[in-house]
């Protein structure tokens, strides 16, 4: 016993180091499993409050540019407002009455924390449960899609950014309708890759890439970006398309959380059929 205590005393520095380091790495691994974490992130209230103060200042500096963006968004959403409604019954003449049921709701909010320089980036929004934001809702900005809500507290939400290697989004080419999955390679915050497109289709530089609407999160037709280049991989049936994002993630500020009112219905149905 005495020699054990002596041993611990002699190597206490190294033992403490190993203990703390193991604990830190345990935290990192636990955290990388990003679906499971719900604690100590920037949606907690202390750091959330600090960030919203900070954001108050930085927003003022970008006022002019952001006003422009808001006008743009107002215009595009006036135009889109009919698209946010889904036909409830088949009829040849459109009547703006109860034949439409609302499918999507847009909750306006602001980005109060953001990063683009990590391998897996996250954003924090100043809206949470109280504003109707819950997990797995989509986040879009006037210029295009932003990400998916990972977690929410009463007043804040943390969002998995498109610039996160763990996130895959179903996207399609607007011109031809072929779809693939969108993924970030962790290198440049302006570009993402569209994978799994068959190699026989024609893709031109500048083609518009939009969300496919096949997942239950994003509405169909939200802008993602424009084709920048095509990479053929030898012998593979698929091509890789490089897409320039339409959103500038470095100065993103006003966004909307999209709540799909019919999501549960769709998921229940899909689960039911996949169990059969």
């Amino acid at each position: 016993m005495k020699s054990l205590l002596k041993f611990i005393y002699k190597y206490h520095y190294f033992i403490i180091f190993i203990l703390i380091e193991c604990f830190s790495i345990f935290l990192t691994i636990q955290y990388n499993d990003y679906q499971k974490t719900a604690y100590l992130n920037s949606s907690n209230n202390l750091s959330g409050a600090v960030y919203s103060k900070m954001n108050g200042i930085s927003q003022y500096l970008n006022l002019k540019e952001k006003n422009q963006e808001l006008i743009y968004s107002l215009a595009s959403y006036k135009e889109l407002s009919k698209k946010a409604y889904k036909k409830n019954q088949i009829s040849l003449i459109e009547v703006y009455d109860s034949v439409y049921i609302q499918q999507f709701e847009f909750i306006p909010c602001q980005v109060i924390n953001n990063s683009v320089n990590k391998q897996n980036n996250y954003l924090t929004l100043n809206a949470g449960f109280k504003q109707g934001v819950i997990r797995e809702m989509a986040v879009v900005s006037p210029m295009g899609i932003v990400g998916i809500v990972k977690d929410a507290t009463d007043n804040y939400a943390s969002v998995i950014s498109v610039l996160n290697q763990n996130l895959r989004i179903s996207a399609m080419l607007k011109r031809t309708g072929y779809f693939g999955s969108l993924n970030w390679d962790g290198l440049d915050y302006r570009y993402v890759n569209l994978l799994d497109l068959p190699n026989h289709i024609s893709v031109n530089k500048g083609d518009t890439v939009i969300t496919s609407g096949y997942s239950s999160m994003f509405p169909k037709g939200e802008l993602i970006g424009f084709v920048e280049g095509i990479e053929d991989s030898d012998g593979s049936e698929f091509i890789k398309v490089r897409v320039k994002l339409s959103v500038n993630f470095k100065n993103i500020s006003n966004v909307m959380v999209v709540s799909n009112l019919l999501r549960n219905e769709q998921l229940t149905l899909e689960n039911k059929s996949s169990h059969d």
Binding site: H12, Y13, I20, L27
Partner: protein, 168 residues
Amino acid sequence: MIKIIPRNLFRFVVLVLLQVWVLNNIQFSGFVNPYLYILFILLLPFETPGWLVLILSFFLGLSVDMFTDTLGMHASASVFMGFIRPYVLQSIAPRDGYEAGTFPRIFYYGLIWFLKYAIILIFIHHLFLFTIEVFKFGSYYLVLWRTFLSTIFTTVFVILSQYLIFRK
């Protein structure tokens, strides 16, 4: 001597806030980011016991982690840096050792000594941080490149801080 504790606490808070409010928003060429908060570990007095350096490093890293959604990453890198610190101090000690009442700063031991001290520790910290961030060993040249660039920027900030704020 009594003043050392509040002074270091103040430095801790200021460096963490500076890091999350200002420096995390600076990104040279996309993904290079100066991590000035580790200046706190660099400037701890020589006499600080080893276990205290480790614990302080852990909480320093954890505070930065809480703001950047990277739980554990900065903490483990800082703890590793705190662990290496006494060995670096030992290996670059001046011939007659460190005098009592002095601190690891340019003012006491000169620019060359401080540069050696800072660059070695900053490089170790950044290498650990970026390695644990990607968490795999593919495309390792990117990690080395980021470590190299970020080390330069952090060192520049550390040296500047020595001339501007901690002159004495």
